[in-house]
């Protein structure tokens, strides 16, 4: 089985299915979960990567790309065909979808890819720049409707995911079947990691919590990708570790 990193961008429009949901659906088609596996492999978490917000960039409303890793027996041609078929089926008519596929076992310059991702958060990039870099690095980059402008974000999303320091994990985490988000629960870090499949609890200041520390969780429980780990983001409020608010999650 080989590992691939896949990123899509600019597939939606107001009122249509979101790009993150489409990414999850593609991941499920490429690597279906076995019935006894209650949770997806953590590497398959879809991460959302915020890109540059600028008047010259024709995003719909927020300009973010969605990236995920899959381990699969499908070969490259099969993977690409599955991705394209799903994008064609689910993308909004007014969208400009882009698709980037990276063989993680290939010999590519990770530094250049990460640099492109970071630059795409602070400056306007062109399709030509994206295609040129993709050709140099051996990343498969393709457009699937409209202007195809989404290729820029899809390439950038690969780089940002590889940086290990960017992105919010799509969706919410649950702490078992009986989890009630209106209640406050206070597991240890170790218990939370076991229940969610995450790798760490990391504070908004970058501190990695010890496994025996207690955290106070309520509301929507969200994770981020930081320090190369899928982590619960927490903040210290009056001596108590609490899951991050939407406002605190925003910079990720």
């Amino acid at each position: 089985m080989k590992a691939w990193l896949i990123c899509i961008d600019d597939t939606d429009d107001i009122g249509t299915k979101g790009t993150g949901e489409i990414a999850e659906e593609i991941a499920a088609k490429l690597a279906p979960r076995v019935p006894q596996d209650a949770r997806p492999a953590i590497t398959r978490f879809v991460t959302r990567h915020q890109l540059f917000v600028h008047p010259d960039i024709p995003y719909t409303s927020h300009n973010s790309a969605m990236c995920f890793q899959v381990e699969t027996d499908f070969d490259f041609a099969e993977i690409k065909a599955i991705c394209i078929a799903h994008l064609k089926q689910e993308s909004a008519a007014a969208a400009d979808p882009g698709l980037a596929i990276l063989d993680l076992e290939s010999d590519y310059n990770i530094g250049q890819l990460i640099a492109f991702g970071k630059q795409s958060k602070v400056e306007v990039k062109t399709k030509e720049q994206a295609y040129q870099l993709a050709a140099e690095l051996g990343v498969d980059l393709s457009e699937h409707g409209g202007t195809g402008q989404g290729i820029i974000g899809s390439l950038a999303g690969l780089g940002l995911r590889l940086s290990g320091q960017d992105g919010r994990v799509k969706g919410q985490l649950t702490l078992g079947e009986d989890h009630d988000e209106s209640a406050v629960v206070q597991p240890s870090v170790a218990q939370m990691l076991k229940q969610t499949g995450l790798q760490a609890a990391i504070s908004t200041t970058g501190e990695i919590l010890n496994h025996d520390e207690q955290i106070s969780l309520t509301g929507q429980i969200k994770a981020v990708y930081t320090q190369h780990q899928f982590a619960l983001l927490v903040s210290n409020e009056s001596g108590e570790w609490r899951n991050a608010t939407k406002q605190q999650l925003k910079p990720y």
């Binding site: 107001i14 009122g15 979101g18 993150g20 949901e21 959302r48 917000v53 600028h54 008047p55 995003y59 719909t60 409303s61 927020h62 300009n63 973010s64 919010r168 799509k170 969706g171 919410q172 509301g219 929507q220 608010t245 939407k246 406002q247 999650l249 925003k250």
Partner: protein, 78 residues
């Protein structure tokens, strides 16, 4: 409407930037066409907030309300 937005060309732009949550919540509470975006795109813990609305389009220092520009039957405009 004009409490929270100014008209720039054909679009309504939020007056209070990207960090001032109270007016974004007030404006959404007063809006009959608020439509929640995907939860993953929310940036305000209070669900009904213009910051969480599908019709906002982020700009570098604020957002534009696209529902209003579309002039769809709306009771937001007061």
């Amino acid at each position: 409407m004009q409490q929270w937005f100014i008209q720039v060309n054909d679009l309504w732009q939020f007056k209070f930037g990207v960090e001032d949550y109270a007016p974004a919540r007030e404006a959404a509470k007063d809006c009959s066409v608020f439509l929640s975006d995907d939860e993953d795109e929310h940036t305000d813990n209070v669900a009904r907030s213009c910051f969480n609305c599908m019709y906002r389009r982020w700009q570098p220092s604020s957002f534009q309300c696209h529902k209003r520009s579309a002039a769809v039957a709306s009771t937001c405009v007061s």
